[in-house]
Amino acid sequence: MVTIADYAGLRPAWCPGCGDFGILTAMKRALVELGLEPHQVLLVSGIGQAGKLPHYLRGNIFNSLHGRPVPPAVAAKIANPELTVIAISGDGDAYGEDGNHFLHSVRRNHQITYLVHDNQVYGLTKGQTSPTSDPGFVTRTTPQGAPLPINPIALAIAADVSFAARAFAGDIEHLTQMLKLGIKHRGFALIDILQPCPSFNFKNTYAWYRERVYKLGDDYDPTNKIAAFQKAQEWDDKIPIGVLYRKERPTFEDQLPALKAGPLVKQKLDPRPVESILSEFM
């Protein structure tokens, strides 16, 4: 039986009070509760404080470039669909540099889970505006205040994401539930995690989020696209957390004939079948 201890990785180098600690705790719980062993899991991350998370866990780890966790993650899933593939990113990583990969991977519906540690600020480079910073957020790179932010959930819904949830790093139990739902989901699952940054974001603090977040109830229908899009617009006074949108549709991997014979990585390499196609060129 896999236990929390099996997921004890290196000692985190995050700032005290960082929201990432809550995410780390919830990740361990979710993986253990799903009965996944570290060798069955592939954690692909980008660059930023979020990108370090895999090192503080255990598993197969591919710590990739800034803004590029998604392309290697989707390819890894195609190469070996038996792996549980989780991509881990921050708001700058995911919604800035990774923007194009994010949109197209949502569109193709690869079966991976995408965790975005969304602290609305750049932490590793010490406090610049991020794609999700609230409007008017003043930083050294935006002394005039940040322009309008990206709304990640609305963006994902517009691209017909298969699963979009929001969670809060300060509510570990709910976050664990969201992670479990996302990892089990068949298709691209986005989990945008509100993550306070005590070092560089003095606006969106634990207290600020706690005053605003509320859990979506049983009366909310996450399969209604228009309603989900409307729900995704809520922000300043009340911020919904939970599964905002869900749409069952075939995954990219489901549609690949080459995977019918089993994982690509388990297939024998044999040059001889090429002989049978040479006649096409005669």
Binding site: L10, I61, R68, A76, I78, E82, D270, P271, M282
Partner: protein, 572 residues
């Protein structure tokens, strides 16, 4: 019977220049002739001017030449532009009812292409009639063409028969109406058991033979046909092709698939490779095997998108910041494209680092007859792979420091060993580190792989006698033109040979120096403006070339071009 004949088909994009050029090549290939054919076209789908040259010979042939024996002109512009390339006894087939020319000329043979098409049933293209007329004029075997047309248009039965009828009308018209003097008559000379491949076909077949299971790419001339062909074989070969959102994704996907343990490849052109360079370094530091095919075209930026150049060599050798090992292969011929693509997968996996195959637009799009490859000669060498049976998986370290620099590679999920790697500098265990000791050890370990790779790289290929007073050097697609230049000049009693690099990195410096030691003069011939091979040769060996012949107008280098330039520069 002449040993050789040169055809040119010219017209605007959309007139079927490419398709009859290809069918003509195939008709001769099946008749046992050797073919070298190339294409010249503009970056447009309709209009403009394009041409297709087919060189037919009774001996192996690897280059194109300028003189044209028969010109199939589908429009007037083709005659205006190419009349000067016609040989003294050359002939032009054109539709005199459509193309009005001021003077009659014995070189002109009018075939009423459109009229014959209408008689054959319309709805097909007059280029088929021209194709038939060309073969009629040289008295080739019509049945061979008829069979080819039926196969080519096979899926559309009526259309196939209409095409055969149209081709026959052209064939008969030429046989009956031509009264001039055209000395070339060709007949099939053998059973034609050779492949007619272009460079992208050969790369694709090489990748499939090597067990490539994953291709991520973004369409770009001239390598798009690689992803298209391999995608068409997805089911039969259990290979996945992902049409990525951009080249950045294509490269990073290939790296992800390579990390998990499948043979992965991407293919692009120079400007696509620019976007891939970030991910190339990711493969370098994470020690991930990947194969990259780079089809050069004239740059910078978009440059001349449908033309050829060898301008990316030094870019590819040093692409990405920092230092890491890589191997670079530079196929000389279309046959080389097959073998070297297959070899690249072995190099990538044995040394766990990128292997890059450089081709160019000319090699990618030219057709050549190639002997049927002996597939049993392809070996699959996957390098050192760690399995749980080989040691305690809990102690496994992905980037273990070894004497060879190669750390046994575990494949994630296939055992209990956790495969940890990082694009940050990392410890042996793969976790990010700032330690000076780890950094020094890991950089040194990665670069030690160059020592092993150095032994894998073939020495440069010599053509002509072992030693000669004058040696030409070149790399990649210019081999055909260079070797033929040596043949022509040796017939003229010039003491000359060729040293050609088709595997270029790690640079085979010792072999190059040994091969050049007896040469009094060394001339560098390249399709670029800055003589990149000469620069590398000097950097790696200290040897300075005595002269340079460079072509960078986007057109393929030819024997006539090289000899003319050698004369002009006083090298002959």
């Amino acid at each position: 019977m002449p040993a050789e004949m040169n055809f040119m088909i010219g017209g605007e994009a959309g007139q079927g220049v490419q398709s009859i050029g290809f069918l003509l090549s195939k008709a001769f290939a099946r008749g046992g002739h050797h073919i070298f054919a190339d294409q010249d076209y503009e970056s447009r789908i309709r209009g403009g001017h394009s041409f297709f040259r087919v060189r037919v010979k009774d001996k192996p042939v690897y280059a194109i030449v300028e003189p044209v024996d028969m010109l199939l002109a589908l429009n007037k512009e083709t005659i205006d532009l190419h009349l000067k390339e016609l040989t003294p006894k050359g002939i032009i087939i054109y539709d005199g009812e459509k193309i009005k020319l001021p003077n009659s000329d014995s070189k002109l043979f009018s075939v009423p292409l459109e009229k014959l098409v209408e008689e054959a049933g319309g709805k097909i293209m007059s280029n088929t009639v021209a194709l038939g007329a060309a073969l009629g004029l040289i008295k080739y075997d019509f049945e061979l063409l008829a069979k080819l047309l039926r196969e080519h248009f096979g899926r559309k039965g009526d259309i196939a028969e209409a095409n055969v009828k149209a081709a026959k009308a052209g064939f008969d018209y030429a046989g009956k109406e031509f009264t001039g003097d055209f000395p070339h008559h060709l007949s099939p000379i053998g059973d034609g058991k050779r492949l007619l491949l272009n460079g992208t076909d050969a790369v694709s077949l090489g990748a499939l033979a090597a067990g490539c299971k994953f291709v991520s790419a973004y369409p770009m001339t001239p390598t798009t046909p690689i992803m298209e062909y391999i995608a068409s074989k997805s089911k039969d070969f259990n290979v996945v092709v992902v049409h990525a959102e951009d080249e950045i994704a294509a490269m990073n996907m290939a790296v992800g698939a390579g990390y998990v343990g499948v043979r992965a490849m991407t293919a692009t052109s120079g400007s696509g490779f620019c976007l891939m360079v970030e991910g190339l370094g990711l493969a370098g530091i994470t020690e991930t095997p990947i194969v990259v095919v780079e089809g050069q075209r004239p740059g910078p930026a978009v440059g001349l998108p449908t033309r050829t150049e060898q301008g990316d060599l030094e870019f590819i050798l040093y692409a990405h910041h920092g230092e890491f090992p890589r191997s670079v292969l530079t196929p000389a011929t279309i046959e080389d494209c097959f073998w070297q693509t297959a070899k690249a997968f072995n190099l990538a996996e044995k040394y766990q680092t990128p292997a890059i195959v450089i081709i160019d637009h000319h090699l990618a799009t030219a057709y050549n007859t190639v002997e049927i490859p002996d597939i049993s000669k392809i070996t699959i060498e996957r390098g050192e792979i760690f399995t749980d049976a080989m040691g305690d998986p809990a102690q496994y370290k992905r980037h273990k420091v070894t004497a060879s620099g190669v750390s046994p590679r575990a494949l994630p999920g296939l055992g209990k060993a956790l495969v940890v790697t990082d694009c940050d500098e990392h410890s042996e265990a793969g976790h990010l580190t700032e330690s000076a000791e780890d950094r020094t050890q890991q950089v040194s370990k990665r670069l030690r792989k160059m020592d092993g790779l150095r032994n894998e790289i073939a020495p440069p290929r010599r053509y002509g006698p072992e030693t000669a007073e004058t040696t030409l050097i070149g790399w990649g697609s210019t081999y055909g033109a260079l070797s033929e230049t040596v043949d022509i000049l040796r017939q003229d009693k010039v003491d000359i040979n060729l040293l050609h690099f088709n595997e270029i990195w790690p640079f085979p410096a010792d072999a190059a120096m040994a091969a050049l030691s007896a040469s009094k003069k060394v001339y560098d011939v390249e399709s670029n403006a800055t003589a990149q091979l000469a620069h590398i040769l000097r950097a790696e060996t200290g040897k300075k070339v005595d002269g340079k012949i460079l072509r960078f107008d986007g057109r393929p280098i030819t024997p006539a071009f090289i000899i003319e330039q050698m004369r002009k520069e006083g090298y002959l």
